[in-house]
Amino acid sequence: MGWIGEQVDSIKSIQFRQLLTQAISLGMIVTSALIIWKGLMCVTGSESPVVVVLSGSMEPGFKRGDILFLHMSKDPIRVGEIVVFNIDGREIPIVHRVIKVHERPDTEEVDVLTKGDNNFGDDRLLYAQGQLWLQRHHIMGRAIGFLPYVGWVTILMTEKPIIKYILIGALGLLVITSKE
């Protein structure tokens, strides 16, 4: 009980000015995180510059919990590239490899077919009903870089929300009770 009492006392003893400093430093952390994220969006030109791999369909190249860096440029899509795409009516983006490209002359229109390296068949079963090809607007970006394991933090947090609340709570308490 002594420890908790001490913490409560330390919360009580906080001066107004100190409280303000802590609020500002917390704000600094949040805003700098936001700046980094938005800056990455500008540099990569992709709506979500970093994605976490959620399925094993690209194993052994990408495993669950790996992080991919995306880049979206005006360059045409070519066979073999690993693209991240969104299917109409589905929330979760998919990371798969392009295996077929049919590009119209003059217009930017392109038909693309994808497949997961570890899947047996192509992705037509994953597409919307009756959809045979992906078009340009389905594609959010192409994967250019790769960092293993880091994404497990987000997977754990989305699958076990309690961990998220414990983490946020602990960090919040730390910020409030810490001096200096």
Partner: protein
């Protein structure tokens, strides 16, 4: 000032920074490698060449693929994804790329290989434009690192002309 929390925080920050630096260096070391892969692809036979009921042309062929991609492997290479694509132009499309065969090479020892195979993915045109059509065969590879930037390159092979008649 020197509480447990601060020390743990400093240690964690330092550890993560070092790890990030090592990942960046490992990824950078890949750029020092200048690979010299070799490959040869032959179309041995056109097994089937038909117009499908929906009007699109389809080809089935037997291929002979031999390659030595060992020089692509570095200490930061997790796998090399290799695939063979047919590229051609039709009146409808300015570019058609169709993947015919692919393979995942996890080890350097497996990077020298030869294989006789039929096309793994269906070679179907958008329309009926394949009779007498020239296409290029290109061997592409995609180097996936243990961490960092991915690399891709290709070797353009000799082309092939499809027969004038269905068979």
């Amino acid at each position: 000032m020197h509480s447990l929390g601060y020390r743990a925080n400093a240690l964690l920050t330092f550890g993560v920074t070092i790890l990030a630096c090592m990942c960046a260096i490992a990824s950078f070391s890949d750029t020092l490698n200048s690979p010299t892969p070799t490959a040869r692809v032959q179309v041995l036979n056109i097994n089937r060449f038909q117009k499908k009921p929906d009007g699109d042309d389809e080809v089935s062929m037997t291929l002979n693929i031999s390659a030595n991609l060992q020089s692509l492997f570095t200490w930061n290479t997790k796998q090399v994804f290799v695939f063979l694509a047919a590229e051609y132009e039709t009146p409808k499309n300015s570019l058609n790329q169709v993947s015919l065969w692919d393979n995942i090479i996890p080890k350097k020892e497996d990077a020298e290989f030869w294989i006789r195979t039929t096309n793994k993915y269906r070679f179907i045109d958008q329309g009926s434009n394949l009779r007498g059509r020239d296409f290029n065969l290109t061997l592409h590879w995609h180097v996936m690192p243990k961490t960092g930037k991915m690399f891709a390159d290709k070797l353009v092979m000799t082309g092939y002309r499809l027969p004038e008649l269905y068979r």
